[in-house]
Amino acid sequence: MTDSNTAPVADPVGAGDVVVDVRDAHYSVGGREIFSGLSLHAMKGQITAVMGPSGTGKTTLLRLITAQIHAQTGQVMVFGENLAELNRGQLFALRRRMGMLFQNSALLTDINVFENVAFPLREHTDLPESLIRNLVLTRLNAVGLRGAAALMPAELSGGMARRVALARAVVMDPELLIYDEPFVGLDPIARGVIMRLVQQLNQALGITSIIVSHDVRELAKIAHRSYLMAAGKIVAEGTPEELAASQSPIVRQFMSGDPDGPSPFHYPARDLANQLLSDPPTKARLPVPGARP
């Protein structure tokens, strides 16, 4: 395991096997720095986990990797292509090699489950209807929802919607699958099902996977390599075992879920007693979101 403070990520060896390569990315919004020299890479055929406390920019990192936003400085390479240099057509061609599972599933609400999964096939291929039907039903069967093909997204539970979204994400046989918080809000059964599916997709089809999550235990079971994000950069990386054995204070704090440590639980504020005693009792001045105390 390496702490990035002491050993920054170097150019990965065997660049042909690197699917995603983020180098020294800086990104800020409204004066707030989200990434300050973030570097990481995802190797072909591996499951790469990106962990970190809430608000550290994990989802923003996925938006960076999928070129929904661009780094202000630094480089983001996917399949060997520099995302900042791609035009719209090239970017769409690249995205056809990717699949993404959104945190809120993002199913199209005006069409049913079958049509949601068939959507990329209908948009990008001229396959006959019978073949589309077979492909969709096969994918739905893999996530255990073949029987729900006629349901509308509003009729699905959160776990079912996540599975449908997963079926849709893999229907075009992507080389890279990106998962944004795939375990959030799921019951233990749905969580286990999703985890097994992620693992099966990786093992059976060799799909490169990037999972953004803060579920340490789940990720430890399936990830080949994990990164820990804090304060806009990667603070630690390694196999799940290496992270678990790390003595780094921030890694220890995150892995054991301690409120006190290098990563503060409290948003910066003045002393509680001072605030309670000084503010008028009838008109409490609540902090404005985003404003500095």
């Binding site: 999928t66 995205r95 056809r96 993002a106 199913l107 199209l108 990329p120 990008h124």
Partner: protein, 255 residues
């Protein structure tokens, strides 16, 4: 000083908004050709924007026609020209009330639905999901809805005018006992093709502007509940004001 700065800011902001809308329109128009190749997408939106607005359009048309006949009859009776009621109602409906009121109702019913639907798609990441599937939301979501709105408006206007004339006939002939033959013949002889054309041109222009505003506001709404609400409000306000402004300009152009 600060007032002048604020005015400059408002003017610049408004101009920037017009520019952004124009660029957005060009992008949507660029997708319209491809969308017409998949008519089912547009037909669905004609149903959503037009079909689902039929009840409110017909009810409003009926009552407008009835009120028009009542007021028209009272006025024309003073000059002994009650027989001209059909002609007066037809002109008012075809040239002015039909297109304008249809557009205002369209903005309130279909325009808000379009804005909130697209805004919610943005808020729930559906538009982002499409982009991630290498599908342009402008082509799949925006262009069909825009075209559906533009096509729906003249059709709704035609229904509005037809039902309005029925309402005028109901009050004028059935209640006020104007001669049925005079009602229709006066209308037939006095209403020219130019009057009908004016109504069609107006409704097409209103359909264009109302649909554009609705899809633009939805597509650019903040992805929050409040953001979608504000976008919906802006749709109604901007559509209504621009409809009335455009109506004045077109009326002047047709004089």
């Amino acid at each position: 000083m600060s007032t002048a700065v604020a005015q400059d800011g408002f003017i610049l902001g408004s101009l920037a908004r017009v520019g952004r809308t124009a660029i957005f329109l060009l992008k949507v128009l660029a997708q319209c050709g491809r969308v017409l190749g998949r008519p089912s997408l547009v037909v669905n939106q004609i149903y959503n924007a037009g079909g689902r607005s039929l009840v409110i359009i017909m009810l409003s048309g009926l009552f407008t026609g009835m009120v028009l006949a009542l007021l028209g009859f009272t006025l024309l009776q003073r000059f002994g020209s009650e027989d001209a009621l059909g002609f007066a109602a037809a002109l008012a409906l075809l040239k002015e009330l039909g297109p304008v009121l249809t557009a205002l109702l369209f903005a309130g019913r279909a325009g808000t639905a379009l804005t909130s639907e697209i805004g919610l798609m943005r808020a729930t990441d559906q538009l982002t999901a499409m982009q991630m599937m290498a599908v342009d939301p402008l082509r799949y979501v925006v262009a069909p809805r825009f075209l559906g709105g533009v096509i729906s408006m003249p059709l709704l206007n035609a229904v509005y005018c037809m039902v309005g004339l029925f309402g005028a006939h109901l009050v004028g002939v059935r209640m006020m006992r104007i001669d049925n033959g005079s009602f229709w013949s006066q209308m037939q002889s006095a209403v020219a093709l130019r009057d009908v054309t004016e109504g069609i041109v107006k409704s097409l222009a209103f359909g264009f502007i109302c649909s554009l505003i609705a899809v633009y506001e939805g597509y650019h709404s903040e992805p929050t509940a409040e953001g979608v609400g504000l976008a919906t409000t802006r749709t109604v306000v901007a559509s209504s004001v621009l409809t009335l402004l455009l109506d004045y300009m077109l009326t002047a152009a047709f004089l």
